[in-house]
């Protein structure tokens, strides 16, 4: 196989922050390394560098941290510091990669794309879109700022309605500026059809965006074995994994359980494996804690988990619930559930609805509606075959090696 000189750029290192995009970028890096490519991982970092240095090393010499921060959070711009057009330029000249694969621009500065094109006119620029930040100023959530209603499409006027302090013209310029930077990209990658479609609606040529699922590492034999021995509970075991915040819909799930009559509820347990509840707005925390109190005996809050613990935790799970109230892109936990043969109950929108097919490998409920989720859960309790049917419908998620191959094909 042709060995390539590849630079992977991400907005964070998963050792520091375990976000889905950071993990996907890093896994791809490791896979390329295994395949023998000359690959460097460059991750933007908030940590203090040595005496103002732009770069430092994490783990090994080809894992670099880039110590910089965007100076304009509206345009994602970083031109007032010299880091992109001076330090990064020098690094690019030294590395001379044939392919630069971006997994983000966030916090680093969107001009990073322009700098790569300027310094390496011949390099192939590939950019995996992991969310909707370029489209939506509301943290890329595509939720109306006040009502938290799902938003289908950005427009200067609608965006101004969400952020009255910014004029429609400001949003117009923001889009113009971001698209200027995107114009240097040769190929885009989207992990879901849904996300691709949002960017096509926004103005990127459909033929430029390839849908490639994020890969999932394969389970080792020990984890597989765990999987086969532990499923023996009389209760329906639900589990929630990941960050806890007001967009992830944990409150919708708790409300659904509260809506059940006591007898039905007693047929369920819910394990919450999630982090960062303590950083959420007080109102949201109160809502969650008050629900937890009322659901004592049914719901157990376990706190964060390490990735290697996940197979074991899933082995004790009948259904994973992904109740996000925003579209999501391609939630990694869904693939992880499928890898462990756990079907998923999820909101009927966006990347979630795309990855989970209703009645095949999981169940849908109406996004943000506890009553709808409650009805789905009651169905699960009443129809014992449903679980078997959905487990049977699970197709194993893409392996990392497959994802890497698909990405390499674009280079």
């Amino acid at each position: 196989m042709d060995k390539k000189k590849i630079l992977i750029i991400a907005h964070g290192h998963p050792d520091v922050h375990k976000g889905g995009a950071e993990i996907a970028a890093y896994q791809l890096f490791n896979e390329y390394e295994t395949l023998g490519h000359d690959v460097t991982f460059l991750a933007r970092s908030e940590e203090a560098p040595h005496g103002g240095a732009a770069f430092s090393v994490r783990n090994k010499a080809n894992e670099l941290l880039f110590h910089t921060r965007q100076d304009d959070d509206f345009l994602f711009s970083n031109i007032r510091t010299r880091y992109i057009w001076s330090e990064l330029r020098d690094l690019l000249k030294r590395l001379q990669p044939e392919v630069v694969h971006f997994h983000h621009f966030f916090l680093m500065g969107i001009e990073t794309l322009l700098e790569v094109r300027k310094t390496l006119p011949e390099a192939k620029i590939v950019f995996t879109l992991h969310e909707y930040l370029a489209i939506c100023h509301a943290k890329g959530l595509m939720l109306k700022h006040d009502s938290k209603k799902l938003c289908a499409k950005s427009s200067p006027k609608d965006c101004h309605n969400c952020f009255p302090e910014k004029s429609p013209a400001d949003f117009f310029m923001r889009e113009m500026y971001i698209k200027r930077a995107f114009s240097v990209v040769d190929r885009f990658v989207s992990p879901s059809e849904f996300l691709k479609q949002r960017y096509v609606d926004w103005g990127i040529d459909s033929s430029l965006i390839e849908v490639i699922e994020n890969g999932t590492p394969e389970l080792d034999e020990h984890a597989q074995m765990n999987d086969s021995v532990s499923r023996s509970s009389t209760k329906v075991r639900l589990a929630y994994f990941g960050q806890i915040n007001c967009f992830k819909g944990l409150d919708v799930l708790l409300d659904a359980l509260l809506l059940m009559d006591k007898d039905t509820r007693q047929q369920f347990v819910l394990n919450i494996h999630g982090a960062n509840l303590e950083y959420q707005p007080a109102e949201f925390q109160e809502k969650v804690y008050s629900a937890l109190k009322r659901l004592k005996g049914t719901v157990f809050l376990h706190g964060p988990y390490e990735n290697h613990e996940l197979p074991a935790l899933l082995a004790d799970t009948d259904w994973m619930v992904v109740p996000s109230i925003w579209y999501e892109n391609s939630p990694i936990v869904i693939q992880e559930a499928f890898r462990s043969n756990v079907p998923v109950i999820t909101s009927n929108v966006g990347g979630m609805a795309e990855k989970v097919t209703n009645m095949k490998n999981g169940l849908h409920f109406n996004v943000g509606k506890p009553l709808s989720l409650c009805a789905v859960l009651e169905k699960v309790a009443n129809d014992k075959n449903l679980h078997k049917q959905c487990v049977a419908g699970i197709i194993p998620p893409s392996k990392l090696s497959e994802t890497a191959k698909a990405n390499l094909a674009l280079y």
Binding site: D72, L75, S77, I79, R80, T81, R82, I84, W85, S86, E111, L114, E115, K118, P156, K157, S167, P168, A169, D170, F171, F172, M173, M176, Y177, R180, A181, S183
Partner: protein, 525 residues
């Protein structure tokens, strides 16, 4: 002193270098001894009650013509003489906030009079041994709600209590002033007041003078001009005419023999440079177009220069930055920029104007060259939703702004698709946001008139000057640019006074060009 017979209505006694403490004054059969310990000339004399009123009136007039008044006392002026005052008479109050002199010959006094009982009959200034017009009669009065608020009075008490009072004299005005008030119309109480030379920010003065001005009250236009706009102009004139150090910085290599020079003034928001450059960098025509940014906002010099460096390094399009030591206003900044333009043809461009697609500037230049009679050519400017922002301006009288010609943008807000396509067409005037012309013509007509403070109406003024040279004004229907209007001025605090200032400029424009505008509107222009 004895007055000549035909004007004689009494006697005035002028006392100077008095050595005695007491004198005796006799009028008809009344004799009175006057103590001169207080060194006063008129108060005691007035106690001769038998003075007939006709005599008294004439004597008063004669006194005042010569800078004296009844009740006058000697005032002492020193470095401690206050520059603001609060005088009270029973519950009535006079307050002087500021007394400023400009260019030696002009004095501006800003204050308020709260006089519910209407006790004050006259309030005057005594300056250079002359007595001014009565402030109550002559000054420009406007609301001062802040005063009512501070004094914890109902807010409507603030109506019409604030005043601005401007006096111009042919000779230099002494800073030693006397503020005089009279409750009976004749006898005054005087207090020493010192005027300071105006050294503050012009925008500060402009803002406080215009904060509560009702610009729709045409009856008050003469007083507005006499007391308010004249003072504003004076305050700016000094700055605009003072020497201004200019620094020029070139980013990238200078373009030799450019076909066009863009002049872009920057005030407040400078992120537009980033947006403009992000688009210019997609346009190969910029190999031949010189860009001159004029930073008209010294407060942001450092941040602006840092941004410029980043913008150049990122987008690679060369440009020139002209840094003005002082804020010159929109007109002054453009004039400065043009003086640094090296091409025969210039485009005056706002920083929030962004071409819809590449090659728009050279297309505009070509259209200009093809139309010999055209003196200024602008383009079609669009909002971000592709509706018309500008396709030429028309003069219009607007009931909301009586007494002045407004610049109306016909078809503003129309979708572009509703406009019949055209190449170029004549317009009554065009916006300064995008104007292409020869540099020579701009210089020949004296550039933008800097008397339009901060901006507005100087563009239509320039169009008038070019019309006067026998050229016509035109707009392109095929050159399209986005104009993200008004954003660049959003940093100016509050909108009310800024709007009023615009209207003040409108008034100035109307006074200057009324006849010509009428001709243009009648189709004879």
């Amino acid at each position: 002193m004895q007055c000549s017979e035909e004007h004689s209505t009494g006697f005035l006694v002028a006392l100077a270098n008095i050595s005695e403490n007491e004198i005796e004054v006799t009028w008809r059969d009344v004799t009175q001894r006057i103590n001169l310990a207080e060194v006063s000339f008129t108060q005691q004399l007035a106690e001769l009650e038998a003075l007939p009123s006709a005599y008294f009136n004439d004597a008063t007039a004669l006194l005042e013509r010569n800078g004296f008044y009844w009740g006058q006392k000697s005032l002492f002026f020193s470095d401690d003489t206050p520059t603001n005052l609060l005088l009270s008479h029973k519950d009535s109050k006079i307050h002087i906030d500021f007394a400023f002199t400009f260019d030696e010959n002009t004095l501006l006094v800003i204050g308020w009079v709260l006089d519910l009982a209407r006790l004050f009959k006259r309030i005057n200034l005594r300056l250079n041994n002359t007595i001014s017009d009565c402030i109550l009669q002559d000054a420009f009065f406007h609301p001062r709600y802040d005063v009512a608020e501070t004094l914890e009075l109902p807010i409507h008490y603030g109506e019409k209590i604030g005043f601005a009072f401007t006096v111009s004299l042919p000779e230099p005005i002494s800073p030693n002033l006397e503020l005089m008030y009279s409750v009976d119309g004749r006898f005054f109480t005087g207090t020493a007041l010192k005027a300071e030379p105006f050294r503050r920010e012009e925008t500060w003065l402009t803002e406080i003078l215009l904060a509560n001005v009702d610009i729709t009250n045409t009856a008050k236009f003469p007083k507005l001009k006499k007391h308010v706009t004249s003072a504003i102009e004076k305050s700016w004139q000094e700055r605009l005419q003072a020497p201004n150090a200019v620094e020029v910085k070139q980013f990238g290599s200078e373009i030799s023999n450019p076909s066009l020079s863009l002049i872009v003034p920057i005030y407040g928001r400078y992120d537009f440079v980033q947006i403009q450059m992000s688009q210019f960098s997609l346009d190969s025509d910029f190999e031949n177009i010189e860009i001159v940014y004029v930073l008209d906002d010294p407060r942001i010099k450092h941040a602006f220069m840092v941004t410029c460096k980043g913008v150049f390094e990122t987008f690679g399009v060369p440009f020139k930055v002209v840094l003005s030591e002082r804020n010159l206003g929109y007109a002054g900044a453009n004039n400065l920029g043009v003086s640094h333009a090296s091409s025969e043809h210039i485009v005056l461009l706002n920083s929030d104007v962004i071409p819809k697609k590449p090659h728009q500037f050279l297309a505009l230049l070509q259209q200009f060259k093809n139309a010999e009679s055209v003196g200024i050519l602008s383009g079609t400017l669009l909002y971000e939703d592709d509706t018309i922002q500008h396709q030429g301006m028309e003069y219009m009288q607007d009931p909301s702004h009586p007494g002045m010609w407004m610049n109306y943008h016909p078809q503003k807000g129309f979708p572009l698709s509703l406009i019949e396509p055209f190449d170029i067409k004549e317009a009554q005037a065009v916006t300064g946001a995008l104007m292409l012309m020869t540099k020579q013509q701009y210089l020949d007509v004296g550039g933008f008139d800097i008397g339009y403070i901060l901006g507005d109406f100087e563009d239509s003024d320039l169009c008038m000057k070019v019309r006067n040279m026998g050229k016509c004004i035109a707009v392109s229907g095929s050159v399209h640019m986005y104009h993200l209007e008004r954003l660049s001025q959003s940093l100016v605090s509050g909108n009310t006074w800024k709007h009023t200032l615009s209207m003040v400029n409108g008034l100035r424009h109307t006074n200057k060009w009324n006849n010509e505008v009428e001709n243009v509107v009648a189709g004879n222009g």
